[in-house]
C-alpha cells in the first residue's frame, strides 16, 4: 500500500534522493562506499532530515532488506535505563549475518535520555562496537554527555534554506495535484520556519480542504492545529483573571495534550508581541526562561505554568499602575 501521510510518501529513500544538507550527505556517502560507519550524532532542529538521513544511510548500506539490520528506538517513549540495559544490549551484541559485520541502532530523541541511561549506553557502545553502530539523533547535542559525544562523529543539521523548502513543497503539490499559491507557500514558510515535516503536514491538511492553498487557508489550518489560544490565555492573566487563565491552561494540557514545552515556547513568542512597554518584555522573558528551565528539570508542568500565569497577573497589574 502506498504511503498516505505525505511526510512518509515524500521521505527520500536513499542518500541520492536527499536534496538538502549536502555536506552531510557527502560524508555519509563516503561511509557507504567504505562499508563502514562510526558511531554518529545527528544534531539539529526538527524537520531537517536527521531521521531520514539515518534511514537512507542504512538503506544504501544494506540494500532493500535494510530493515533487518536496523533498530529504531525512541528515547522520548522509552528513556529509562532498563531499555538501554535490555533492549539495546540484546540487539547490539547479536552478530550480524550479512556482508557487513555490524547492525545499526538509531536512537531518536537521544537528548531526552536520562543521565543514568546515557551512562549505561556509553558502556554498551564501547563493548559492542564490533557488532553494532549507533546513530544518536538529538535536537541539542549539548544534552548528550561528553563521553558519548567524544565517541561519535558529529553531524550538525540546519534548517532548509528557503529555495530548497519551496522546491520540495512545490514538487509535492504538483505531484498531488494541489494548487499551491505563492502567498500560501510564503505563509507555510513563515509559520513552519524551515521545519519540513511541519510544512508538509500543513500542506496536506490545507490540501484536504479541497481549495487552492493560499495564505488564508494556511493560517486557518495553523489556527486549527493550535486549538487553544496561548495569546488569549496570556491576555486573561494580564487582565488579572488568574482563574480563567488557569482553566485555559488546563484545557490545553488535558484536552489537547499540548506539551508544556510547546506552551512555554509559544508564551515566549507571544510576549514580544504584547502591547506592553518594551522594558517589560525582557522582564517577562526572564520569568518565562526560569519556568522553562524548571520544566526541563522535571518539575510539575501545570504548577510551574500556573506560577508563570500568576506572575503575568502581577505584571499586568504593575504595568497598569505605570501607564
Amino acid at each position: 500500500m502506498s504511503f498516505e501521510m505525505w511526510t512518509e510518501k515524500y521521505r527520500p529513500k536513499s542518500l541520492d534522493e536527499m536534496v538538502n544538507q549536502s555536506h552531510i550527505v557527502q560524508r555519509l556517502k563516503s561511509f557507504v562506499e567504505a562499508k563502514n560507519i562510526p558511531h554518529c550524532i545527528f544534531a539539529g532542529p526538527p524537520g531537517t532530515g536527521k531521521t531520514t538521513a539515518a534511514l537512507c544511510l542504512a538503506h544504501d548500506l544494506y540494500g532493500e532488506v535494510y530493515r533487518e539490520y536496523l533498530m529504531e528506538l525512541n528515547a522520548s517513549d522509552e528513556r529509562g535505563i532498563n531499555v538501554i540495559r535490555e533492549t539495546v544490549k540484546t540487539f547490539a551484541r547479536a552478530r550480524s549475518m550479512g556482508e557487513i559485520p555490524f547492525k545499526i541502532l538509531i536512537l531518536d530523541e537521544a537528548d531526552n535520555m536520562t543521565a543514568d541511561a546515557q551512562q549505561a549506553l556509553r558502556r554498551t557502545m564501547e563493548r559492542y562496537t564490533e557488532t553494532c553502530r549507533f546513530i544518536l539523533i538529538a535536537n541539542y547535542s549539548g544534552r548528550i554527555i561528553e563521553p558519548i559525544q567524544s565517541r561519535c562523529a558529529p553531524f550538525r543539521f540546519t534548517y532548509l534554506p528557503r529555495e530548497e523548502h519551496d522546491k520540495y513543497l512545490m514538487y509535492i503539490a504538483e505531484n498531488e495535484k494541489v494548487e499551491l499559491l505563492k502567498d500560501g507557500l510564503d505563509a507555510i514558510y513563515e509559520v513552519c520556519g524551515g521545519d519540513l515535516r511541519k510544512a508538509i503536514n500543513t500542506l496536506q491538511a490545507a490540501a484536504s480542504l479541497g481549495k487552492p492553498v493560499n495564505a488564508e487557508v494556511v493560517y486557518s489550518v495553523v489556527g486549527h492545529a493550535n486549538p487553544v489560544d496561548v495569546r488569549e490565555m496570556i491576555k486573561l492573566a494580564m487582565k488579572g483573571d488568574f482563574i480563567k487563565a488557569r482553566d485555559k491552561l488546563r484545557e490545553m494540557i488535558f484536552r489537547y495534550g499540548v506539551a508544556a514545552s510547546d506552551i512555554v515556547r509559544q508564551i515566549h513568542t507571544e510576549i514580544f508581541r504584547l502591547d506592553v512597554p518594551e522594558a517589560w518584555k525582557i522582564k517577562l522573558a526572564d520569568i518565562v526562561g526560569e519556568i522553562d528551565f524548571r520544566i526541563t528539570q522535571g518539575a510539575d508542568e501545570e504548577v510551574q505554568l500556573s506560577a508563570l500565569l500568576a506572575q503575568l497577573v502581577e505584571a499586568g497589574y504593575q504595568i497598569g499602575k505605570e501607564t
Binding site: E4, G210, F254, R255, Q304, A307, Q311, E314
Partner: protein
C-alpha cells in the same frame, strides 16, 4: 502527675456544682430530676434511670450536680469498682434504704457500665439487676451504648434518658466562662475553633483549652489552630484556612500535621484553592511562586531520593504561601474546591488513552516518537478527518486506525 498540687485539671476545677451550671440537655435533666423527686412520694415503677450518650457530654457531672442540688448522699461506683457478683453484692445493702442515718436521702450511681467485661465481671450485671429490682432508693446507671446486647434485660427495668451533644455555641460559651475565671483574654475565633473541634465532647474541649491557654494572658486563633491533633482527623477545610490565613510560619506549617491526606494530596488542595483566597496580584504571584518552589523540591526528592528535602516542600507549600499574603483582605466565606486537576485527569482519561494509542500507530509508520506524534501529526490529522473523508479513510487504513480512533480524530466522539 508529679506536680499534682500545682496542676488541677480544669475539667475538675470548673466542674459545675449545680444543675444550673450544666450545659445542654435541659430536657433530659428535667426528666431525671422529676423521676428522682418522685421517690419522695413512694417507690416509682422504674427504680433505676439509665443515662446514655457519647462520652464527655456531662452525664456524670449532671448526677453529681443533682445530688448537690437536692442535698442527697451520692454513692458512686464506677468500672474500677465492679468486679464480680460478690463485689457488687457488697454494696447492695446500701441500696436497701432511702433515708440515711443523718437524714439525707441516698442516690446510687453506677457509672461506666460499658466497662463491665464479660468474664472478669461475671455475674456482675446479674447482681446489678437484682439490686435494681429491689432497690429502696434511686439508682442511676450510665453507659455510652445502651443498645449493647448485654444490657437488653436491664433496659426493661430502667427509665431510659438520652443525653445529647451540646451545641457548639454552648460549648464555646462555657469555654468563654472558664477563660474569664482564669483571667485569659481569648479571641472568639480561637474558642469557636476549639469548640468545633471537640464535636460536642465538652471534656476534651476543656482539656484542649487548658493545654493551650494555661499560663497565658491571651489566646489567639493562631495559638489554637494547630491544636493538639488527637485522634480526630482534621477536615481539609480547616487545614487550608491555616495555610491561607496564618500570620506565623509555625502556624501554617502545623497544617501538615493536622491534615489527614498525604503531602501530595494536600499540595493539590492548596494549589486548587489558593487563588480563591489570595487574590491581590502581588500576593498571588508570590504565593504561586512559593508553591512552584515546593514543587521544585518535590522534583529534587524524586531525583535524589533524599527525603530530608521534604521539610522544604512543607515550608514552601504552607509557610511560604501564608507569608505571601500581605495585601489581600480576608475573603468572606469561600467554598472549598476539590482539586480540578484530579477531576480533569479522570475526565479526560479515555481521551488521553485514545490519543496515545493513535500516537503509537503514527510512531510505527512515521519514524517519530509517540510523544511528538501527538503534537506534530494529530492536530493535522484532525483537520484532514474533519474535512476530507476520502483522504481520511485512506490514512486510517494505512495507519490501521479503529473506529474509536477515527471518531476521535473527526471530532465525533
Amino acid at each position: 502527675m508529679v506536680f499534682k498540687s500545682m496542676w488541677t485539671a480544669w475539667t475538675v476545677k470548673h466542674k459545675p456544682r449545680t444543675l444550673a451550671g450544666v450545659i445542654g440537655n435541659k430536657e433530659a435533666i428535667q426528666k431525671l430530676v422529676e423521676w428522682v423527686k418522685s421517690w419522695d412520694k413512694g417507690i416509682p415503677k422504674k427504680r433505676a434511670a439509665f443515662l446514655y450518650g457519647p462520652p464527655g457530654i456531662g452525664k456524670t457531672v449532671t448526677v453529681e450536680a443533682l445530688a448537690n442540688d437536692l442535698k442527697m448522699e451520692l454513692v458512686e461506683k464506677n468500672a474500677s469498682d465492679y468486679r464480680t457478683e460478690k463485689a457488687i453484692q457488697r454494696f447492695a445493702g446500701l441500696a436497701s434504704q432511702y433515708g440515711t442515718l443523718f437524714g439525707r436521702k441516698r442516690l446510687i450511681l453506677l457509672d461506666e457500665l460499658d466497662g463491665i467485661t464479660g468474664r472478669e465481671d461475671a455475674g456482675g450485671l446479674k447482681a446489678i439487676m437484682n439490686i435494681v429490682k429491689t432497690a429502696k432508693c434511686p439508682i442511676i446507671l450510665i453507659a455510652n451504648d445502651p443498645y449493647d446486647p448485654r444490657f437488653t434485660a436491664l433496659r426493661q427495668l430502667c427509665l431510659m434518658i438520652e443525653f445529647k451533644k451540646p451545641r457548639v455555641r454552648e460549648v464555646q460559651r462555657l469555654l468563654q466562662r472558664i477563660c474569664m475565671l482564669e483571667g485569659i483574654n481569648a479571641e472568639e475565633a480561637a474558642l469557636r475553633f476549639i469548640a468545633q473541634r471537640s464535636q460536642g465532647d465538652v471534656r476534651s474541649a476543656i482539656n484542649d483549652l487548658q493545654a493551650l491557654a494555661q499560663g497565658k494572658k491571651r489566646l489567639t486563633f493562631d495559638d489554637v489552630s494547630w491544636l493538639a491533633y488527637r485522634d480526630r482527623k482534621e477536615k481539609i477545610f480547616e487545614v487550608l484556612r491555616l495555610i491561607f490565613y496564618s500570620r506565623t510560619c509555625d502556624g501554617a506549617k502545623r497544617a501538615v500535621a493536622m491534615a489527614d491526606v498525604d503531602l501530595d494530596m494536600l499540595f493539590e488542595w492548596v494549589y486548587e484553592n489558593l487563588p480563591y483566597h489570595i487574590r491581590d496580584p502581588q500576593d498571588l504571584a508570590e504565593a504561586m511562586e512559593s508553591l512552584a518552589k515546593a514543587d521544585l523540591y518535590r522534583g529534587r526528592i524524586r531525583l535524589t531520593q533524599d527525603w530530608k528535602l521534604q521539610s522544604y516542600v512543607i515550608d514552601f507549600m504552607t509557610a511560604g504561601v501564608a507569608m505571601a499574603r500581605k495585601r489581600t483582605k480576608p475573603a468572606g466565606w469561600v467554598p472549598l474546591r476539590f482539586p480540578e486537576r484530579i477531576k480533569w485527569l479522570s475526565k479526560t482519561k479515555a481521551e488521553r488513552e485514545l490519543r496515545a494509542a493513535i500516537a503509537k500507530k503514527i510512531k510505527r509508520k512515521c519514524h517519530i516518537s509517540a510523544t511528538r506524534a501527538i503534537k506534530e501529526y494529530i492536530p493535522y490529522l484532525r483537520i484532514i478527518f474533519e474535512n476530507n473523508s476520502e483522504m481520511a479513510n485512506k490514512i486510517a487504513e494505512w495507519l490501521d486506525l479503529n473506529e474509536h480512533m477515527k471518531a476521535y480524530l473527526s471530532g465525533k466522539n
